[in-house]
């Protein structure tokens, strides 16, 4: 299974879509937003707030890209080829999940590093730790949604659906522009999105608060919904394989 993870990560790093959407764009947008004075409030606070936003945005890109890969693999007959090796289906699925979990790390790390090195963000060590852990673990619902799309849809449409979902969730969740700047009706919608809860956990930690119960419950509920969706997609894909 580790051989599979290594192969998949090698492929991801050579995937222009992944590198651009999940690593380069978030870092560039972060530096642009924070250094052109587009982010609200105090400069250091803005650097922290936007750092979390863009790390979350990049992680979403990585998580969804992994799901698109599944559709591509199925179209290429790769999933069937894997069934003809000694790997078990469980190992294949686990390998893909681990790949997804690893693939979001460079996105998060790149933006946080840009925060430290370029924008001189300073935070107490335990906050750094909590932010990294939450940004990382919080990608699971999005990975599942991406995998669900990947199993359910064909190659091209899965990739399109995942990019569209990723952008919608990023913008609507307040990762590009804080929801405080939204009109009130849009803000009401935004506060129900999984992406807003996801980034919200780390925003609060970054500024010394504890995550709200609402955010935790909401993200867990979405985790459940997307988990069911991924299982449904996998079963459907299995019947057609």
């Amino acid at each position: 299974m580790w051989g599979y993870v290594r192969l998949e990560l090698t492929r991801s790093m050579r995937d222009g879509g992944y590198v651009i959407f999940a690593i380069v764009m978030p870092v560039v947008m972060y530096l642009v937003f924070t250094n052109l004075g587009l982010a609200p409030g105090d400069r250091h606070d803005a650097a922290i707030y936007t750092m979390v936003s863009m790390a979350a945005y990049g992680a979403l890109g990585g998580a969804f890209n992994n799901g698109s890969g599944i559709a591509e693999d199925r179209a290429a007959g790769w999933l069937r080829q894997l069934r003809l090796t000694p790997l078990t289906p469980a190992q294949v699925v686990a390998g893909k999940v681990v790949t997804g979990a690893v693939a979001v790390v460079p996105s998060i790390a790149a933006v946080l590093l840009a925060g430290v090195l370029v924008n001189h963000v300073t935070l107490p060590p335990q906050r750094w730790l909590a932010i990294v852990a939450l940004l990382w673990a919080g990608t699971v619902p999005f990975s599942l949604l991406g995998l669900g799309n990947g199993y359910r849809l064909s190659g091209q449409s899965a990739a399109m659906a995942n990019i569209a979902t990723m952008l919608t969730l990023s913008i609507l969740g307040g990762l590009w522009v804080p929801v405080e700047n939204f009109p009130s009706w849009l803000r009401a919608i935004a506060e129900w999105t999984p992406s807003n809860s996801y980034a919200g956990l780390s925003w609060r930690i970054a500024f010394g608060d504890v995550p709200s119960l609402r955010q935790v419950v909401l993200l867990s509920a979405w985790l459940l919904v997307f988990g069911v969706y991924a299982v449904y997609g996998y079963r459907r894909a299995g019947r057609r394989a």
Binding site: G3, L7, D73, G77, R80, R83, L84
Partner: protein, 298 residues
């Protein structure tokens, strides 16, 4: 049965339906170890479905499939079988070496990479990206994926369908090396010369059933397709009653006898003193195939 003695491949009354179509219809087939077997049939004969059943990619609706006496999936897990599906299996953004290293790594006792590259004749492609190969090159890489685990059985679904003549020849020269090592090989094809040339045994499929099974000579005999012809004058209807003769045709003073046993037919002709301008023309498998499927349809 233990895995030591069981047949490499065994299908017992296997049936698979897709909606109203019986793709595989009560098919029974046993392949002992070490044989090279061609599965021959036109499109829609059930070749790919048969292969999917015996590899455990599809469950049979009824009947049983086994490899080395094991459930097919189990045999694949144990690395006993390697397979090359009709298409696909190559992923973008990896090199040939990376791909084969990964696939080999899933087996307990794979062949050394250099040996695999040599067998598939892709030594010069090892650092090439898989998505930048020609059709023939890609096919050889797919073949390498099927053999790199050093399986006891290798199953190839129309391995040369997409290849030109040169690429086909190169492909089969790699295969010969494997058959020499006692590997059991099952390949499907609709190139009849390939079955004739490369298989110990030819299994002809039509409508999901075995309609002939034997050496290519036996299959031709079963189809009664050796043509014995002589020049005849006068009354010649009696020729149709000679041993082995299944069908007679008279064209331009020549009598053409389709025979299932050309030796017996010729001997009888000689005894009757009717040998004049004798010609014995063995049928190609192609003719045999047409005759067999026609018989099946009748």
């Amino acid at each position: 049965m233990t895995t030591k003695t069981a047949d490499a491949v065994s299908l017992t009354s296997a049936t698979k339906r897709f909606g109203p179509v019986r793709a595989v219809d009560g098919l029974t087939l046993a392949i002992p170890r070490g044989q090279t077997v061609a599965l021959l049939g036109p499109n829609g004969a059930g070749k790919s479905t048969t292969i999917a059943l015996l590899l455990g990619l599809l469950p049979p609706d009824s009947g049983r499939a086994a490899l080395f006496g094991l459930d097919p999936e189990q045999a694949v897990r144990q690395g006993l079988a390697g397979a090359m599906p009709q298409e696909g299996g190559l992923i973008p953004r990896v090199t040939v070496r990376e791909l084969l290293t990964f696939v080999s790594g899933t087996y307990a006792a794979p062949l050394p990479l250099d040996r695999v590259l040599a067998l598939a004749r892709i030594e010069d492609l090892r650092d090439r990206r898989v998505d930048r190969l020609s059709g023939g090159q890609a096919q050889r890489v797919r073949f390498a994926m099927a053999v790199c685990g050093d399986p006891d059985l290798i199953v190839l679904d129309e391995p040369t369908a997409a290849l030109d003549v040169t690429a086909r020849r190169e492909f089969w020269s790699g295969m010969r090396g494997l058959a020499g090592q006692g590997m059991t090989i099952l390949f499907s094809t609709h190139y009849l010369d390939e079955a004739d040339e490369h298989a110990d045994r030819v299994v002809v499929l039509g409508h999901g059933r075995v309609i002939a099974d034997g050496t290519s000579a036996e299959v031709k005999r079963a189809a009664a397709l050796t043509t014995v012809s002589v020049t005849a004058d006068g009354e010649s209807a009696w020729l149709a009653t000679l041993p082995g003769v299944r069908h007679m045709e008279i064209r331009g003073g020549r009598v053409h006898l389709r025979s299932g046993d050309s030796d017996a037919t010729v001997m009888a002709l000689a005894r009757a003193g009717a040998v004049r301008d004798l010609e014995v023309v063995p049928a190609g498998l192609e003719d045999a195939f047409v005759a067999l499927t026609a018989k099946e349809n009748a």
